[in-house]
């Protein structure tokens, strides 16, 4: 006998519209069904009626948090179609902003995870420190969130010499703040007890369900596009791929904080090793016919843009698959068997970005059971009975 509770499109825990139909047996989640589409805007069809320059700004607004990943993938794809050779300095600046965007996205997640566990001090602290990286991004690109730095053939703005000390100083602050958050995330009782052993995802399940990004790396899946399929300036940087074999939500927290420190190290290397020269190459408006699979590592995982061009200045087909979409089967697997109180934190473990994801939805893989609704009194007795025999 179980009860199904709709967690509606407007819910405090989930900042964005999605709909969870949770079937419960007492406090335990038996089966979960997710209905999206609230955020589906039909971007892929829209992309076919825009020229390539307008499409940069359309793909940038697929997701507000990981937007520089989208524009880098799209511009990289079109540059490959055009056979353009992007100057090294442009690639370095594009990678710098990819890493700064990763830091801001992970700090944002750390705060939201703290908030969903009820640990609001961490929420306030991590978002205050996120302002450091937001100021750096705004200094370089002119806008806090939608960084319009990428263009076909390179980047639109250069890093002048007086910006360098500011950036290095900001990164220094971020490094010791992330050192502090690593200590908090791994030892603070309020955070650890709520995330340890919650949302279990064993490694073979993560591989089978094709999970990507920090969520999969927390279950030991060694898959990071920056190492396996290096793009932009990553071949020139040395960094290590962080994995942990904890396979639970605490693992994702530790992986993300360590990735912040890794990104800070990379930003330092980029700033010190910034090659001189041009930042952009002139790109023709019409793209010769062809197709390209362009992949990058967004803060949440592997992001792929498939672009097919037909020689005109409008793409024939733009297919975007975002990392959150790949993580949904595994998060629904790890949600099952948990408690209803853990739904927000386990669901937040993949750092869901509905705006990214809303090209597809998912349902529970094994067969569906239909339950009849219970009245309130029945539910109360059922609850007491359920707890009684649990204790007995």
């Amino acid at each position: 006998m179980s009860v199904s509770i709709p967690i509606g499109p407007q819910h405090p825990a989930l900042k964005e519209p999605t709909h969870l139909m949770v079937t419960l047996d007492g406090e335990r989640v038996v089966d979960i069904d997710m209905r999206l589409g609230y955020n589906h805007r039909g971007i892929e069809k829209g992309a076919e009626s825009r020229n390539y320059i307008q499409n940069i700004y359309l793909t940038e607004r697929i997701c507000g948090i990981c937007n520089v990943a989208h524009t880098s993938t799209f511009c990289q794809g079109v540059e490959e179609l055009l056979g353009l050779e992007v100057p090294k300095r442009g690639l370095f600046i594009r990678t710098l902003l990819c890493e700064l965007n990763r830091i801001h996205s992970h700090l944002l997640w750390l705060g939201v995870a703290g908030h969903e566990v009820g640990f609001d001090t961490l929420f306030m602290y991590s978002w205050r420190d996120r302002e450091i990286v937001m100021d750096l991004i705004e200094l370089i690109s002119g806008n806090r969130v939608n960084i319009g730095i990428n263009a076909i053939g390179g980047v639109r703005r250069d890093i002048s010499d007086d910006m360098r000390p500011q950036i290095l100083q900001g990164i220094g602050q971020l490094e010791d703040r992330s050192q502090y958050y690593l200590e908090v995330a791994s030892t603070e009782v309020t955070f650890v007890r709520r995330t340890q052993g919650v949302g279990k995802l064993p490694k073979e399940k993560a591989i089978e369900l094709c999970a990507v990004g920090p969520y999969a790396r927390a279950s030991g899946v060694e898959y990071d596009l920056r190492k396996d399929d290096p793009f932009a300036a990553y071949p020139y940087l040395d960094f290590k791929v962080i994995t942990s074999d904890r396979c639970d939500v605490l693992g994702t927290a530790i992986v993300r904080v360590l990735e912040i420190m890794e990104s800070c190290k990379m930003c330092r290397q980029i700033i010190e090793g910034l090659p001189p020269g041009e930042i952009k190459v002139k790109a023709p408006r019409k793209v010769p016919p062809g197709e390209v699979v362009s992949k990058t590592e967004a803060p949440r995982g592997e992001l792929i843009h498939y672009i097919r061009s037909n020689g005109s200045d409008r793409p024939e087909r733009l297919k975007v698959r975002t990392p959150t979409l790949a993580d949904i089967p595994s998060v629904l697997y790890s949600l099952r068997g948990g408690y209803i109180a853990d739904i927000p934190i386990v669901f937040a473990a993949i750092d869901p970005c509905m705006a990214c994801m809303d090209r597809v939805l998912l349902l529970d893989i094994d067969n569906r059971k239909t339950e009849s609704m219970m009245t309130w009194e029945e539910l109360r007795e059922y609850g007491m009975r359920w707890y009684a025999n649990r204790k007995g």
Binding site: K45, R359, R368
Partner: protein, 151 residues
């Protein structure tokens, strides 16, 4: 270029002339065209022998009277894309979820946005389009025109 040529040789030696357009456009990018009935066979072969488990996504494109379906896989660090085409008259493909469970989402999407019937899919419910969306209208098809009204 070892991984790419290694994959190509294995595919050529097992499937020979049935597969065509086997090309590597750049490092770590391999495209190959396979006939429709062979889709399941090639994918399960790749899974057993080349240890391929990760599907990146499935792209479907409306090219006039056919719908072209591309399966993007990750095989030994190489982005392998298998291309097949389905006649628009009866757009039916069979599911690959038993072989690769992670593909459940992407099949649902092409089913919803392009009207490609996926046979044997565990849960063929409506995907991302709103409830009030009329049946039989598939937005990503060429004949679907969006009326752009000036606000």
């Amino acid at each position: 270029m070892s991984a790419e040529s290694d994959i190509q040789d294995k595919l050529k030696e097992v499937f020979g002339e049935k597969i065509s357009e086997l090309k590597t456009i750049r490092e770590r990018r391999v495209f190959v065209r396979i006939p429709l009935p062979l889709v399941k066979e090639v994918i399960s072969y790749l899974k057993q022998n080349l240890g391929m488990t990760h599907i990146t996504t499935i792209t479907a494109i409306d090219v006039g009277e056919e719908i072209e379906v591309l399966y993007h896989f990750l095989c030994r660090g190489v982005a392998l894309s298998l291309r097949t085409s389905v006649p628009k008259a009866n757009p039916v493909i069979d599911t690959i979820t038993p072989i690769i469970p992670g593909a459940i989402l992407y099949e649902r999407e092409i089913q919803d946005l392009l009207g490609l019937k996926v046979k044997g899919h565990p849960d063929p419910r409506r995907l991302v389009l709103p409830e009030g969306w009329p049946e039989g209208v598939y937005p990503l098809r060429k004949e679907y025109k969006v009326k752009v009204e000036e606000s």
